[in-house]
């Protein structure tokens, strides 16, 4: 039982000594009988005595199962079969009296009931009724017992209900009863959500209109929340309902790179700059290749040359390999990428080639909840290849990336430069028959909920729910409105999460993450706010180097999100934040310079997403917490280190031969595999010592600068 301190072991009195010796002898008897396959009446009796005192003894239950099988085999008439089974039920009942929560006993009962083939299920219901009542009647420990034992009873009654074909509607009523009795019942709410999803999914009678069901359920859970704002059992249900209200069932393509009707120039030189072209449509690539990225509203699987067709002069669609951009190995991802190649020819200069992409015309792109991508979509862009101008290439060698403020500048032309790039979402929308999915009902529901919870905004649940509702409202509005909807609630939502961080310190990390996500969205969701964070990198007087950097530094961000708005980013400054992970960053396939300095990253495992960034050249990891914690706690969050080596086919032994202490630094070794970094800053981390730097130089052969110093 929760909250009940463990009793100190009392000195054994004689009675308990006698009891334990008795138990011990019963136990050895049982094992004896078990080994020798003795299933006589006497042997069974001794085992039942044992189980009635200690129902947790699984061996004894198994022994009884064997005995039943054996005795049923030799039983001749119906009566003796019945008496064998009835005896088992009796033993279980008295065992349950000893320990109400013995799984062994419940399982045994299930097993027997299956044998009996539903002959006396009425009796089971009576037993359950009895137990439910036993449970609710003790007025001293009512709360503990009801919530705890409920799940055990549910577990079993669900089984009996299945045997007896009790319709789910009845089950739903039962959860209603339990909730009416005492709504602090997590299991009942949970069970309700499970049954309802099924009923609504099946479109069962009376559950056809999801809207009606949800409206009723909202009313029910509001009663619980408003009656007792401190009781958390209803919160989860409310959260679930809100998800049901807001969530789009079908995955939708929300963003891509390159975007529709853009004119991409792939440059083979880092230093290419044409003042007539917008810097953001240039992609610098060493190889003659560029990525094509699709970003969906939810994680999907099945993106392949069958479901997505790409028409590009130099590529055969069937040869394209689509890769999920995700650090987990589930094969599902919001972001998918393929690489398109120019053939190795020399002069295509100034000639542009069309690329046409169509997504979702044949089924197969499926969300994790099993819905097909339902909005087929086409988009097209052009691409040209800028070959190396020998003069330029020789004139300006690659320079070290410096993240200091004086290397960034801004001017009015920036906003203009960005027009075609950001908000690719709108671009997609224009080209397709994207049906607004937010109905009047959704918006009305959300609006009335928002009004309701404003009254409750003096307590935790009120604030949290209000923040969620306002977020959902913004999302809904953006679905409905065809033109760009400017989300209006950001400041209020941010305020609510800030309040919650103070109000509820134990969960401040969660609120912080939510706050960060909202902040990310606020920054990235429209051109004006995004422009405030975009800077030119380089010397304002020189025309030569003009790269655009998205600077999200010093924002106290702890979690990243809304990558769909920033797929175009090639330089990203995330320094001076509170990042512990960079999950999802792998979507930014164009990223070549990344600043993660002054964050809270604690291991290379946490940086695993970066391994998928094929274009990454400069990485600043300085002043993080790598090596600070002797035990890497994020390792358990990331996929197993073993999976790296298996996947990569990396031969760790090779390194070992070169005198690298692989086993001290396996993380680092695995991380640096596949990265082609030219510049790395690692200073200010615990791990960074001379030995480690030596290791890095060995691992990263392309490295030119380490911690700001040129590598010879």
């Amino acid at each position: 039982m929760h909250g009940v301190p463990r009793q100190l072991a009392k000195p054994k009195d004689e009675a308990s000594i006698a009891k334990s010796s008795n138990l011990r002898s019963l136990q050895s008897q049982l094992l004896d009988n078990h080994h020798n396959k003795i299933y006589t009446k006497e042997a069974l009796e001794s085992s039942s005595k044992l189980l009635e005192t200690n129902p947790e003894l699984y061996t004894a239950w198994n022994y009884r199962k064997l005995a039943v099988e054996h005795n049923l085999g030799i039983a001749t008439d119906q009566d003796s079969i019945k008496s064998i089974l009835d005896e088992e039920l009796r033993v279980v009942e008295s065992a349950l009296r000893a320990n109400f929560k013995s799984y062994g006993a419940w399982h045994h009962r299930k097993w027997i009931l299956k044998k009996k083939e539903c002959s006396s299920l009425d009796r089971e219901f009576k037993l359950l009724d009895k137990l439910f009542k036993v449970d609710s009647r003790n007025f001293h420990a009512w709360k503990y017992r009801s919530s705890e034992s409920y799940s055990y009873l549910r577990y079993f009654s669900r089984f009996v209900a299945e045997l007896n074909n009790v319709p789910e509607e009845e089950e739903l009523k039962h959860t209603q009863c339990m909730i009416d009795m005492n709504f602090s019942n997590y299991s009942a709410w949970h069970n309700r959500s499970a049954i309802l999803s099924h009923l609504v999914g099946q479109k069962a009678h009376g559950f056809i209109s999801k809207e009606e069901v949800l409206t009723d359920e909202f009313e029910l859970v509001h009663n619980a929340i408003f009656t007792d704002t401190d009781d958390q059992s209803g919160w989860f249900y409310h959260h679930w309902l809100l998800d049901q209200t807001v969530a789009q069932d079908a995955p939708v393509l929300v963003s891509s790179w390159p975007i529709h009707s853009s004119e991409l120039i792939v440059s083979l030189s880092r230093n290419f700059y044409d003042p007539l072209l917008s810097p953001s449509t240039i992609f610098c690539s060493d190889a003659q290749t560029f990525p094509l990225i699709l970003y969906f509203s939810q994680a999907v699987e099945g993106v392949s040359s069958c479901t997505v067709s790409v028409e590009f002069t130099f590529c055969n669609n069937d040869d394209l390999i689509w890769r999920p951009l995700s650090s987990n190995k589930s094969g599902k991802s919001k972001a998918w990428a393929t690489y398109l190649n120019f053939p190795n020819r020399e002069h295509h200069s100034l000639k542009v080639y069309p690329v046409e992409v169509s997504v979702g015309h044949s089924p197969g792109i499926i969300s994790s909840s099993g819905f097909n991508c339902s909005f087929p979509l086409d988009f097209a862009f052009t691409v040209g290849l800028q070959s190396i101008d020998q003069n330029v290439a020789e004139g300006a060698e690659t320079k070290m990336m410096v993240w200091e403020n004086n290397h960034f500048y801004t001017n009015e032309s920036l906003l203009h430069d960005f027009r075609p790039t950001i908000l690719s979402l709108d671009r997609l929308k224009i080209t397709k028959d994207y049906e607004p999915t937010a109905s009047k009902w959704h918006l009305e529901t959300l609006t009335s909920l928002i009004d309701l919870f404003r009254d409750l905004s003096d307590c935790k649940i009120g604030k949290l729910t209000l923040a969620r509702l306002l977020t959902a409202h913004d999302v809904m509005m953006s679905y409905t409105t065809n033109s760009v909807y400017k989300k209006v609630n950001f400041d209020e939502i941010l305020g609510l999460f800030s309040d919650l961080m103070i109000l509820d310190p134990p969960h401040s990390r969660y609120y912080k993450d939510q706050h960060s996500l909202v902040l990310m969205e606020q920054v990235t969701s429209n051109r004006e706010s995004l422009a405030k964070h975009c800077w030119y990198y380089g010397d304002s007087t020189s025309d030569l180097q003009k790269f655009v950097c998205l600077r999200l530094n010093e924002l106290s961000i702890s979690r990243l999100g809304f990558y769909e708005h920033i797929l175009w980013v090639q330089m990203l400054d995330l320094s001076h934040n509170e990042l512990q992970s960079v999950e999802g960053l792998e979507s930014l396939q164009l990223l070549s310079c990344l600043n993660l300095s002054h964050n809270k990253l604690s291991s290379f495992t946490a940086l695993e997403p970066l391994k998928q960034l094929k274009s990454l050249k400069a990485l600043d990891l300085s002043y993080n917490e790598i090596g600070k914690h002797s035990i890497d706690t994020t390792r358990y969050l990331c996929s197993s280190p073993l999976s790296h080596s298996l996947e990569d086919g990396c031969n760790i032994g090779d390194y070992a031969n070169e005198g690298i202490e692989v086993f001290d630094y396996w993380e680092t070794v695995l991380f640096s595999k596949g990265l082609q970094l030219i510049q790395l800053d690692i200073v200010g981390n615990k791990v960074s010592d001379e030995k480690f730097r030596a290791l890095l130089l060995k691992l990263l052969s392309s490295l030119k600068w380490l911690d700001g110093k040129s590598v010879n």
């Binding site: 009647r137 007025f139 009512w142 005492n182 709504f183 009663n223 408003f226 007792d228 704002t229 009254d455």
Partner: protein, 551 residues
Amino acid sequence: MADYPSIDPSSFDLIVIGTGLPESILASASATAGKTVLHLDPNSFYGNHFSSLPLDHFSSFLQSHSHCHSQQPNISPPTSSSNCLHLKHNNLFSHVHISNPHSEYLGPSNKFSLDLSGPKLLFCADPMVNIMLKSGATYHIEFKGVDATYVYRGDGDDKLMTVPDSRSAIFKSSVLTLKEKRQLMSFFKTVQEHILELEAALTSNEEMRRARTISDEELECPFIDFLTTKGLPSNIKSIILYAIAMADYDQETPLLRKDFVIKTKDGIKSLALHNMSLGRFVNASGALIYPIYGQGELSQAFCRCAAVKGALYVLRMPVTALLIDKESNCYKGVRLASGQELFSHHLVMSPSFTVPLSSTISSIRDVQGDSSESSSRSDVEGLVARAVCITRVSIKPDLSNLLIIFPPRSLYPEQMTSVRALQLGSGLAVCPPGLFVLYISTMCDAVAQGKELLHAAMNALAHLLSRKHESSTTMESDCVEEDGPNFLWSAIYVQELRKGSSEIIVSCPTPDGRLDYRDMLDSTIKLFHEMYAEVEFFPETEDAENAENDE
């Protein structure tokens, strides 16, 4: 005279006349304390004004105990060593009106068990319940829960509103808005916190006392003001005051008598009692319970406890006179109708009897400054109007045992007191199956006022019943009963309220106008301690502990 048995021994520690509830508790407590007790009752049944009677007995008891039927006591000659004071019957009832329009539906009279002083209920956590557990009276009595409590609202379509008195009731309530639910629940939480603090304060130091949720000044101020400061809307205030704290008088009238104003601390005490009552017993879904076979069972249960502890019981034994010692002018004993004289140190009398103030005793009184003339009348401290009705239809079709509260001003603007109505069904063995008994009562200053209130409440109930009746007859097409009146039988009467007193003899209080027995029990305990200052009232025993654990 030959019918009366002779009683042996002839001397006791305590003689009790009348088996009303306070008398029975005193007899039982005294017997438990080891006193020798003789308990007499002129009636053939237990309970006196607290008893539950068959229909015909009920009517005749009302008639015979009302003002117009004064009995002349037998006069017997004084004996040599004592002066005789003849007991006078004191009729508590007046203005009895019984109407009997449809007796053909009633069935046999003995299928009824009607309370003389209804409606009365017990809270599960009532001190009365605890005393019964301690005394072992619970062995002789069984209870059932009242299914629901409703508040009557003069306006609105649904005139009966479920009282949201618990967390789950608030959750389920369809009448309260979400905001009101929150207000009410957070008020309950404040009260709960205060109660926990009080408990903690018993064991801890001054420091703890200071950090109170509710300040001492607040505790002394009127409860209604406290509710107002908590920002509760008037409908919720009314629910808390009249349907949970069970206030008898309109708390919002500025002219209210001071002793009728409920202080915050008392209001909170009532809420605490209510709260502790919820869920205490398995068979009670709400806070209130009622004894099966009627409240007369309570007196009887205590009498049985007393008998178990050695008290001697003689029913059908009238007492004709008190014996007064000639020398000391002190009470000495009683003379029975049989002529036998019995002696005791103490005497407890039911409020049905008064001692006519003869010269001998009045001389003592005169010393104390009491005027002899006023003493018989001044004891009456108020009136309670009661009604009992029998119906064929339940007010709520699916429930049979329910309490309905008509808060002040709900029936008509001049209504200054709460009217409470309790409907009981055959499940409690108080009437034959298919019938229901309704008890209604209200406090009043004057007979006319009381009767007006009762009639208004009865009309409101009749209206509710006829609506129910219509809908049920339209549904059952084969039911072709003519539209008869809603009450098959009804009795309306007014009862005097008297406090208990202990001067020369102990006189017990009459049934009061409260819903529960708390006040009655308090004054009974007081009377007990006035008799036996040093003796504990039902001391804690091992037995009682076990009894509670068995629940």
